[in-house]
Symmetry: C2
Subunit: 347 residues, 2 copies
Amino acid sequence: MNEVAVPRKRRKIQGVTMVDVARRAEVSPSTVSLYLRRPEAVSAKVGDAVHAAIRDLNYVPNLMAGGLAAATSSVVGVIVPSVRNAFFAETVAALQRDLGQARLQILLGHSEYDQASEEELVRTALSWAPAALVIAGTDHSPSTRRLLESARVPIVEVWELGGVPPVDMAVGFYHEEVGAAAARHLASRGRRSLVFLSGRANDDKRAARRAAGFLSAGRELGLPVRHINHPAPATTELGGILFSRLLKENGVQDQVGIGCSNDLLALGLIFEAQRRQIAIPDACAVVGFGDLEFASSCNPALSTIKPFGDLIGSEAARLILRSLGDGEKREHSIIDTGFGIVHRQTS
Amino acid sequence: MNEVAVPRKRRKIQGVTMVDVARRAEVSPSTVSLYLRRPEAVSAKVGDAVHAAIRDLNYVPNLMAGGLAAATSSVVGVIVPSVRNAFFAETVAALQRDLGQARLQILLGHSEYDQASEEELVRTALSWAPAALVIAGTDHSPSTRRLLESARVPIVEVWELGGVPPVDMAVGFYHEEVGAAAARHLASRGRRSLVFLSGRANDDKRAARRAAGFLSAGRELGLPVRHINHPAPATTELGGILFSRLLKENGVQDQVGIGCSNDLLALGLIFEAQRRQIAIPDACAVVGFGDLEFASSCNPALSTIKPFGDLIGSEAARLILRSLGDGEKREHSIIDTGFGIVHRQTS
DNA sequence: GATTTTCATCATAGCGCTACGATTGGGAGG
DNA sequence: CCTCCCAATCGTAGCGCTATGATGAAAATC
């Protein structure tokens, strides 16, 4: 005996669907879909009718349905250690700007320098079948790396080159070279001993690599060189603290050249020197990293090494868009965006 | 005549689907789904089998399919003017931290203080059928507001209270009061004339409101008060420029109290004062806004007004989670997170 | 021992959209 | 006037998952 199927109660997701638009424009849903994806493929008359219907009904397409059907979504997962960090914020901003042109959105995650939460974020991002993935650094946990390798999407690792080979593509620069450049610069300014100040070098692998580059370049130059690190994040306050510690341990030693793992640290150092009436750059020269926006206006103006965070973002976006256009062929491009030495008054 | 249907060629999205997991665990797909959503609802034996299958196959669920079927997604759209702005970065970080606990992801957009792109971002965010929406400010274009009003999701407007009534919920503080507090504080420190320095007050409505509050409080106090704005973003460099302009126009006038639309501006002012040997706070007192991390360590340490950006984020997250839990009843909560006056050496 | 209740598991019908191939209709060529 | 062709439009079958109600077995009640 065949009962007539009772229609189930279904929750309605959306007020207005593509079917409603199609009905209103008196075309088929396929045509509406086509108009949305390739407007040039429908005739002007039909296009206008669909457009009008969309406006009238205030239709908002459902990208989840679209993504599911099309087997790929229009999000790009972006995973950085921290958005509060100005460096990554700049790259994220550039990414959104350039990817937005191609109607790609950013699904953001920050790991707070924790590998376990990084893995979680990668897993989540992949759950959205993203069009691409951007992730800071190349140093991931083995299982994260496996996840990335088995994902069939373009992946761009940013802000770091060298070390582990990239999973797919990479845009960044060599942090050891940044450290080395700072050390050489200080030596060229007549400094006879070198110190590198850093925060959180245990978690922030890139800061650690800058430190390593600084130290080995210093040794190559035959100069005495030491490294003072503190597990706390590299803030202005920590800059003052580390400088104080240095002074206590070494006395006020003239002609020292100090590299800082970022400009915030350098700024704190400058403030502390002001308080202690230590002359910069005479008694002590300083080079920062980042060229943060206060660097040019502080007092004395901070010599620093400038990464091109915006460029990293836009190059990453370019690689992604090219990958998506090219279809499947992975090129494994690696782009070195380099860095600039900005010589101001502290060195 | 009935032809046998030829199976179409379908692109395969995913390597491993829930069906594969089910087959491997020798249960039905429904059970796998149930295990994923409510692990306590399946027996321990079956749960373990499913878990093992997921591990072995390295299964990553497809959240688009899930969201489509469940009529809601696990993303929260977050739209801010700029992530490069430390204020919003802090709130975004708090949001991700707290929403992440409930397995919600952040779909980020920044409008660069442009209303048209804000609307575009809202539209895109809504296309993902988000679980909620967080948007900075209450001042949106009419069509954006309409979009927000017709969206059936919890919406939290952050960083601004007063002005236009919120669409749904709001977490923030009154910027006029911040300005007024700065003016009153400077007056209480014996300042007989007041100036407010700001950048980009035409685009940044919140800065404009702080300026307005400062000016009217100053007038209420019977003090001469002026406002100097520059259309460029409020940076350290601009702080020096605006201060120079003030000095040129007014001469070095003792006892002036200066409010700045943010700490970056104040920092630039301090640097410029150092260069010109103008004593702070004697000749000129300064109050900033933001309590950015250099404020406590700069020299002299900066008096400032501290918004609680982290608290804004976590309160917004709390409201969202409560809304999602409560089902449909909208409460239109408005939370005033207030601000703190941090009195240091510049005033 | 027979019945009811509970609990764990399953089968099914879509969620809203896109890709694919099929269909239509009008102009060009014969 | 009849093909043929191309462009514009349409019909259909899922994409992978979840919500719902159904099923059967075990536990609890009579």
